[in-house]
């Protein structure tokens, strides 16, 4: 009997350790995955913002492109809350713990970006460069509205 129990243990314990290890590794992979994913989304936003700024500064004549960039920004801004699940604040990330401590404030800041990018889409459809410039700056401020309180500085 004792022998059997011992044999059982010899099998179960390492198995349990391996299972736990895999589960832990999976969780970590998942956390790394979401961090990587969210950084890619943020980088895409920076890309569109940078592109619009080229138009606004008169460096390129593509005023009619702004609507598409703005729509992309609006689309990705709708993802933001999903990009920050609990537990995704550790590891290689600049996300501050305040995001989850002040989730409502974070939510409002994210909502602000949605609203302002939606307005940028509207303004871009009208096509007046002055209006686009003004609203673009407001969108930039909305980015800062999240970055300042919730992103670690470099």
């Amino acid at each position: 009997m004792g022998d059997l129990a011992r044999k059982g243990f010899a099998v179960v314990l390492p198995a349990a350790v391996i299972c736990l290890g895999i589960a832990f590794a999976r969780a970590q992979d998942a956390a790394e995955g979401i961090i990587k994913y969210r950084q890619n989304v943020m980088k895409s936003q920076a890309g569109h913002l940078g592109a619009i700024s080229g138009v606004v500064k008169g460096q390129v004549p593509f005023k009619e492109h702004v609507a598409a960039h703005a729509a992309a920004l609006n689309g990705t801004s709708r993802m933001i809350l999903q990009l920050f699940p609990e537990g995704s604040g550790t590891g290689e990330t600049r996300a501050k713990p305040e995001i989850w401590q002040q989730w409502n404030k974070f939510k409002q800041a994210a909502q602000k970006l949605q609203d302002e990018t939606a307005k940028l889409v509207q303004v871009a459809d009208i096509g007046d460069l002055d209006q686009i410039t003004t609203q673009f700056v407001v969108v930039g401020k909305a980015c800062g509205g999240c970055h300042k309180p919730f992103r670690k500085r470099r």
């Binding site: 950084q39 936003q45 920076a46 890309g47 569109h48 913002l49 940078g50 592109a51 700024s53 080229g54 606004v56 500064k57 008169g58 460096q59 290689e92 990330t93 600049r94 700056v137 930039g140 980015c143 800062g144 970055h147 300042k148 670690k152 500085r153 470099r154």
Partner: protein, 312 residues
Amino acid sequence: MRWVSQALPQAKMKSRSGCFALLFLFLIPSGRAWSAETDAVKRGEYIFRAAGGCTCHTEAEDGTFLAGGRAIETPFGTFYGTNITPDEETGIGAWGEPDFMRAMREGLSPRGAHYFPVFPYTSFTRMRRQDLVDLKAYLWTVTAVRKENRAHDVQPPFSWRPLLKGWKLLNFTPGELREDPTHSAEWNRGAYLVQALGHCKECHTPRTLLGGFQDKMAYAGTQDGPEGEAVPNITPDAETGIGTWVVGDIVFFLKTGLKPSGDDAQGLMAEMIDNGFKHLTDDDLRAIAVYLRSLPPIRNEVNHRHEKVATD
């Protein structure tokens, strides 16, 4: 003058004769005195903006305007911005013009004590006299706030003020900025805005162990900026500085805080743009850009602490 022009149509309607002349005579002297004073304040406010809104004197997160208390972490200790509202007891309201001049140009308090160079008199000493007079006129219109200054938290020997006399001999050259006739008027304006008013060098240049500037690395950025932050290289080096930014990019950045990459400015710089630089004229922002682009490019990768995190 504005009063006069507003009064004119009314005067014309009322009468074509003496009344008009009388009104005119009555308005001119008072109008002039009034406008001379407000012009100085207006000019002073512009100087204040060009200096980045003296952001270090306002506590972060909705602090009382210019009433001090802001913590400025440096490798030498933590300094606290002082109250520069015109409160006579706790601010600078009791200062006369010579006191103000001495502080800004020589880094000396009214009682003759040396200021720590965290107060960038090393840059402000380059300012023109009239700009200082105007700046004072503006600062004295700010709401006076009673708030005692907080003692700096600095370890010896850096806390010993008398030693600053020696520091100044080594690291401080007082005097106004001179125009460089070999460059354009725009470049010279930019040099003045960058060196004297904007005091860009103060944060964007690495310092020696004693806190002087490493002049060979001027504007090349540093790991050890104020508030424990890294400060970017703003020389026109293409890889490690802002060499890929054209004049329009710099102007736009100083107006909005948005970099050509689409990212936004952080920390003190974001505040200085909001409180100061975004209010400057396009001509002045362009002058700043022209000057910055004329600096010798210096290769210096400022190793942001979280850089890997952000870009990988």
